[in-house]
Point group: D2
Chain length 138, copies 4
């Protein structure tokens, strides 16, 4: 399974309120997606150069029940929640210890020359395998 | 009614894909919320200093049907979509001309000493008035 | 002359300290550079598509003598300070009223296929003309 | 000695040019400073709450000789370069393998109630010790 990503909250992640800014949580989740792809052997630059495809966030739903603060250590957990014809659904949760801070879902679309494209077979198989392994463990 | 905010896409708003990064759209929408509050005569720092309350984004749903690019001019339109006991619902849309690029909804919560608090009467009345005026026009 | 850019400080521009985060000042200055280029009739995307050249920040020096806060209105003033063979020097200052908040200098390099390239004649002439006009006024 | 920080370049760190945006390098360096403080047993939130002091970036000089790209692994090395009465000088370098990508110097100031303040004795001693240990090794 993919290792959760550890995050340390820095001064620029915290806004006027003294709590982590919502956009900082998005950066944390993007770091986790980058790591996820890399651990699966999928590099975005290689996908762009060899297949001409790009991955873009097409939709996001984010709930922030917890308020995180400077210097705290957070953990981002990312799982593949579903596969569409041209999209990948990821579930991303951020925790402080066992306490939920963020509960999010990202829809990542495959784009080619500015238009949606079907998921390449290689990506589909990789994500189906991963989703299956994760489901088997829980 | 609140004037829509004009945005010019800069180099740092565009990511590897050549299109506006989803987090840049969040920055654009935050700028529009800041302008909205200011035009309503509500300044966040004054609210913090006089009432001890902070406004934080508690949830967000964002759909990005369009792909915007460097140098394009976008327009962010923000309306008050609803009022909860301790939250304010904003609808935010980003357009390129008449073409929809982003369709989002932000839930802004009132927080005091790290805990949710009811909307102060002054804020509630201001937003109810605005929502009523907008509804009357459409 | 190029109009100074007005900035309103938003919640996400302010960090844990309660003051504008240094990286937010960089975003403000980038917005001002984008406006400068546009007012000079130079669009970065067009330069990339027609000439194959990109403008990247190659160096920056930033001093932040002032502490700016949420909701304050700032003004970014940008001037062409010099032209190298492959670089453009910009001076950027941020003010709150007449009080200096930021004093910065950015070196923007012209890059083509990942390598430095001489400034195209059209860019050089535009910036020389602008620098001359500005000098004549002061 | 303080461990260098490993960074993986994500999609949002790369701008229109296809290379890491200068502001992303600043985020990487901030993450390294946060780690440095933590490894030295200094937490910014604790400093704020117990001593009433804040650390803010007061000046920065950044040179970006190298162009880094998506998915690349970078390493940020941070050393204490000097101590002023009210400031801390840090040298920060980013490498891709042995190749220098960024060479920067950050001046971090101690601020209390919006005004400069002398470095507290505890901070001064910690940084002097660290600077001495590092010097002894090279």
């Amino acid at each position: 399974m993919i290792a959760p990503l550890q995050i340390r909250v820095g001064a620029g992640d915290v806004d006027f309120s003294g709590f982590v800014h919502h956009a900082a949580h998005l950066r944390f989740m993007e770091r986790a997606r980058t790591e996820l792809l890399r651990e699966l052997g999928l590099e975005q630059r290689a996908l762009a150069e060899t297949e001409g495809i790009l991955l873009v966030v097409r939709a996001m739903r984010i709930d922030i029940p917890g308020l995180a603060r400077l210097d705290e250590e957070l953990e981002v957990k990312t799982t593949v929640a579903g596969l569409g014809a041209a999209t990948l659904e990821l579930e991303q949760k951020i925790f402080r210890g066992r306490e939920p801070i963020v509960d999010a879902r990202a829809t990542v679309a495959v784009v080619c020359n500015g238009r949606p494209r079907r998921l390449p077979v290689e990506l589909r198989e990789t994500f189906e395998r991963v989703a299956g392994e994760w489901a088997a463990k829980t």
